[in-house]
């Protein structure tokens, strides 16, 4: 059976795919990751994660349009699946529930 849990990096990438919407392909996601987190990442690492998320069924992908700065090559656009959405929501709920139990906040 395929692993269905979501790692931290995976979660961020999944969110970025959602944020970028129609522009969600490996290079763009890597750029967005770097600018939002100020952490550097290689395209290969992002691509690898996208691939894994697809295998888990959280993402779909199809080939998109080409552009001249890509040497006329097409890009692979990723989209979040319904399962992906559910996993993201679960992850968020889980965090919120944890934060609610956190003494400093729950009673504050």
């Amino acid at each position: 059976m395929k692993e269905t849990r979501l790692g931290e990096f995976e979660e961020v990438i999944l969110l970025l795919v959602g944020i970028l919407d129609d522009d969600a392909y490996a290079f763009k996601i890597a750029e967005e990751f770097e600018s939002q987190t100020a952490r550097s990442v290689s395209i290969g690492a992002v691509h690898s994660t996208l691939n894994r998320l697809s295998e888990k069924g959280f993402l779909n992908s199809e080939m998109g349009a080409s552009s001249p700065e890509r040497g006329g090559r097409r890009k692979r656009i990723y989209k979040i699946t319904a399962l992906g959405h559910r996993v993201l929501t679960e992850a968020k709920d889980f965090r919120v529930s944890l934060w609610n139990q956190f003494p400093g906040l729950a009673n504050g």
């Binding site: 490996a26 691939n51 700065e69």
Partner: protein, 873 residues
């Protein structure tokens, strides 16, 4: 054309495409380009290019890499191995030659490396080994001559090196000094007694902290107390068990030393391991030497420092030299500086060159590493040549494979795996050989080497070696075979291109160059060793037995001499202050003589002997006469040797006076030069006098030829009467003399062995090559025969090609070997002359072996029946 830097690096792109899955190529290349042009737009093309590489390398991830189905791979490998096995089996003779040749080479390589490894292990077992340094001094004489010595100088300078170094130089954490004897590493055997138990054991004196600096583990008693004062002694497990039931029981007990002093056992240490260059069974405090005169001071004092971790020995030696020069008032005008040698080097580097430690056994270690590599190369070349030659047979197979669509890389894989298979078989065989012959090898070299079978590094390096060998040996034939053009092969037979034939011949020549080099070196080496062993020493070393003067042997010498002379088997008795083959003591103490020039210094070896010395040693007197017991004044007389006469610069020496050590007398005779020590050194000036009271040295007994047994029995009886407190122990002079050349002997034996092996391996190669050449030329020879050539003609026609190669190798090697050997011989004071006939002899031997090897095939060729070989034409 200007190179356009504004595109992504082509090489990186190509690399990416090598491993990237094809279906990912478009998107990934697109992404990378976008990244590249984005960065390039910001101005830094160089950074963009660098980043491109970075991105490419980060695509080395499982998901992105082309998958090679492991299943097909396994099948391929099994297939390769199967085919490999079949092909090895299909030509048995060839495979046996090839595999056994390589196995022999590898076994030799392993043997040599085990030996070298063992030599390098010497003294490395001390845990602080990297911080231990021996002090040596370099003396610059007024003449500018530099001499070095490990001996700690006596007097002022020595006291500073020993005592103040620790307090004055912060890097010096601990100082130890110990005495080493001239003859044995650690002194002459001494007699210990406990009740009725009497044993002779050798040991040394050292500073109290000896066991803290060096790792000789204490198994009973305490490290600190071991030799803390002059009445303490530390003994080995072996020695403890000689006197007591267990090491623990020994602690606190008293042993009597030389019938003189009592020592209390404070510690028992584990027997000294074989990788220790210091060998001893007991250690006593070095103060004994000064305070209690336990021994005549014929010992070198060696000083060893323990430096702080990370201290720079060069800096410490500079500080020491500076410190010393400020405090030592030397009138001699010689400049003394101090150096430090790593303690663990002392075994291999024991000589001096230009005042710095150099020479010693290190030369042999280097020599043998070279020999090991030589042999491995020879074996690899063999393998290469034979395999290439065999492609005659393989050609068709290759062609067919190619025609049915096998790729070049697949063929290379196939051949490489076949070679790997052969190499592995050779390795297995080699390990087997080494394993089974190791005991013999140990006996041969006097070592106790064990195969490190449990060590991972051993197997690791073995495997690495196997892969390297199979690649080195198999690469050329594999590529050669895979590059054959099928159309041509299928048309006729394989024809080697001129270039590859030349290459092959070159390899044979090179291989023989190495073998001939080894052979010549071995012959010269053996010759020199034999020369040393059998040369006329100037005295007769046979039938001489000597016994150390100890106990009552000196005071009762006259009685001893009379008693012995009347016993069976004994021809003559005399004494000498030093053993005749090892007169090592040398002095520059001023010796005066009649007619001596002011400031003329000659360094003499002084020897004190009995009246019959000349007779017992069978020395020749060239001028004057020998000492005579019946001439009263002869107790003050001197004799000198020819070299001394020359260096003293006097004429008509007989009757001239000499004064030495408060003794003045006349020269009564001049001795013909004889070798007083190892043949490696030049004969030194000798001054001989008669001493009536010789409390150290040796009693020398000449036995009647063939009556050694009776003589020994007589000696045991007489010595037991006269000197009952000391066990009877004796040495044969000729045997002791041989010990001086033990390392040369071993090296010479090893050289013989390995040169022989190299020749055998080379010949195996030649045999294989001639086999294939014969196969190739069967038809040609058949035609020759049909046309009327006789067997002799065919024989010579065939053999000559190989003889030419070997002859070329010989001609190339001889001048080189001549230069190298001449250089090596310069290191000996007495040496053989290189003469042309040594080389001629080697040439003849090589020629003979070549003819023998090749003729086997030639005869086969000459005897063939042309009707059969030409049938198919």
């Amino acid at each position: 054309m200007v190179k356009n830097n504004n595109t992504p690096p082509k090489l990186a792109e190509r690399l990416l495409l090598c491993f990237l899955r094809e279906e990912l190529a478009e998107e990934v290349l697109g992404d990378l380009d976008e990244k590249f042009y984005g960065l390039a737009a910001n101005g830094s093309t160089w950074q963009a290019r660098r980043n491109y590489w970075y991105q490419v390398l980060h695509y080395l991830r499982p998901f992105a890499i082309k998958s090679i189905s492991s299943k097909t791979r396994n099948i391929m490998l099994i297939n390769h191995l199967k085919i490999g096995f079949r092909s090895i089996k299909s030509s048995k003779a060839f495979s046996i030659i090839n595999i056994s040749g390589l196995a022999l080479g590898l076994a030799s390589f392993l043997f040599i490396m085990l030996w070298v490894n063992d030599e390098l292990q010497m003294d490395a077992f001390h845990s602080k080994s990297n911080q231990l340094f021996n002090v040596y001094q370099t003396v610059e004489e007024q003449s500018g001559n530099l001499t070095g010595s490990f001996e700690t100088p006596l007097g002022n300078a020595g006291a500073i090196l020993l005592d103040s170094a620790e307090s004055e130089i912060p890097e010096v954490k601990m100082v130890n000094h110990y005495a080493t004897g001239y003859e044995l590493p650690w002194g002459f055997p001494k007699t210990f007694r406990l009740g009725e138990k009497l044993f002779k054991l050798s040991g040394s004196r050292a500073s109290a902290n000896f066991f803290e600096m060096f790792d000789y583990p204490i198994i009973a008693g305490s490290k600190q107390a071991a030799i803390k004062d002059i009445s303490s002694i530390a003994i080995s497990r072996k020695m403890a068990l000689m006197f007591f039931d267990s090491p623990e029981e020994a602690i606190g007990k008293t042993l009597n030393y030389e019938n003189n002093l009592d020592f209390q056992v404070q510690a028992v240490f584990e027997d000294v391991p074989q990788h220790s260059s210091l060998e001893f069974d007991y250690v006593i405090n070095i103060e004994n030497q000064i305070l209690r005169k336990v021994e005549w001071a014929s010992h070198k004092i060696i000083t060893t420092y323990l430096l702080a971790e990370g201290a720079n020995p060069d800096e410490v030696s500079r500080k020491l030299s500076a410190y010393l020069s400020n405090r030592v008032d030397e009138n001699s005008g010689n400049k003394v500086s101090i150096g430090l040698q790593p303690f663990k080097d002392q075994y291999l580097v024991s000589g001096f060159d230009n005042g710095k430690p150099a020479n010693g056994k290190m030369a042999y270690v280097k020599l043998f590493i070279a020999v090991a590599i030589f042999i491995l190369i020879v074996a690899c070349i063999n393998f290469m040549n034979l395999s290439t030659a065999r492609s005659v047979k393989k050609g068709k197979e290759v062609a067919v494979r190619k025609v049915v669509g096998s790729s070049k890389s697949l063929l290379v894989q196939q051949f490489l795996s076949e070679f790997l298979l052969m190499t592995l078989m050779a390795f297995a065989l080699a390990v087997l050989i080494v394993f089974s012959l190791l005991p013999a090898f140990n006996q041969f070299t006097g070592k106790q080497i064990e195969l490190p079978l449990t060590e991972l590094w051993f197997w690791g390096s073995l495997l690495l070696l196997a892969f390297m060998t199979s690649f080195a040996a198999g690469a050329y034939p594999s590529f050669f075979l895979s590059a054959l053009i099928p159309a041509r092969i299928l048309k006729g037979t394989v024809r080697f291109s001129k270039r590859s034939r030349l290459f092959q011949k070159g390899l044979v020549v090179f291989q023989f160059c190495l073998s001939i080099m080894l052979l010549i070196s071995t012959v010269v080496f053996t010759w020199q060793t034999n020369y040393i062993r059998n040369s006329n020493l100037g005295y007769d070393k046979e039938n001489l037995i000597y016994v150390r003067i100890e106990g009552d042997l000196n005071p009762k010498y006259d009685l001893l001499r009379k008693r012995l002379n009347s016993m069976p088997g004994i021809a003559l008795v005399d004494r000498s202050s030093e053993a005749p083959h090892a007169m090592n003591f040398e002095t520059a103490d001023p010796i005066n003589w009649e007619g001596k020039q002011e400031g003329h210094v000659v360094s003499f070896k002084p020897v004190s002997v009995g009246f019959d010395f000349t007779k017992i040693m069978d020395l020749q007197v060239v001028e004057g006469r020998a000492f005579d017991r019946n001439i009263a004044s002869d107790s003050n007389a001197f004799m000198i040797n020819e070299i001394a006469l020359k260096e003293m610069g006097i004429k008509d020496p007989i009757g001239k006076w000499i004064s030495a050590w408060e003794k003045k007398g006349h020269i009564v005779g001049v001795l013909k030069d004889f070798h007083t020590h190892s043949f490696k050194q030049k004969i030194k000036p000798l001054v001989v006098d008669v001493k009536e009271d010789l409390y150290f040295g040796e009693v020398i007994v000449r036995t009647e030829p063939g009556k050694t047994k009776e003589a020994l029995a007589s000696m045991e009886q007489v010595l037991g009467e006269i000197n009952p407190d000391y066990p009877f122990s004796y040495k044969f002079l000729d045997a002791e003399y041989m010990k001086l050349y033990k390392s040369e002997e071993t090296v010479s034996n090893l050289c013989n062995l390995f040169a022989g092996l190299a020749i055998i391996i080379s010949c195996l190669g030649l045999l294989g090559l001639s086999m294939f050449s014969a196969q190739q030329r069967t038809k040609e020879m058949g035609i020759r025969k049909v046309l009327g050539a006789d067997a002799g003609h065919i024989l010579s026609k065939f053999s000559i090609q190989f003889l030419v190669l070997v002859a070329i190798a010989f001609l190339i090697t001889v001048p080189l070997a001549w230069i190298l050997m001449n250089d090596w011989l310069q290191g000996f004071a007495y040496r053989i002359d290189l003469s042309w006939w040594i080389f001629a002899l080697v040439g003849l031997v090589i020629l003979g072996i070549t003819i023998l090897t090749v003729s086997f095939q030639s005869f086969k060729l000459a005897r063939i029946n042309p009707a059969r070989t030409l049938r198919l034409e």
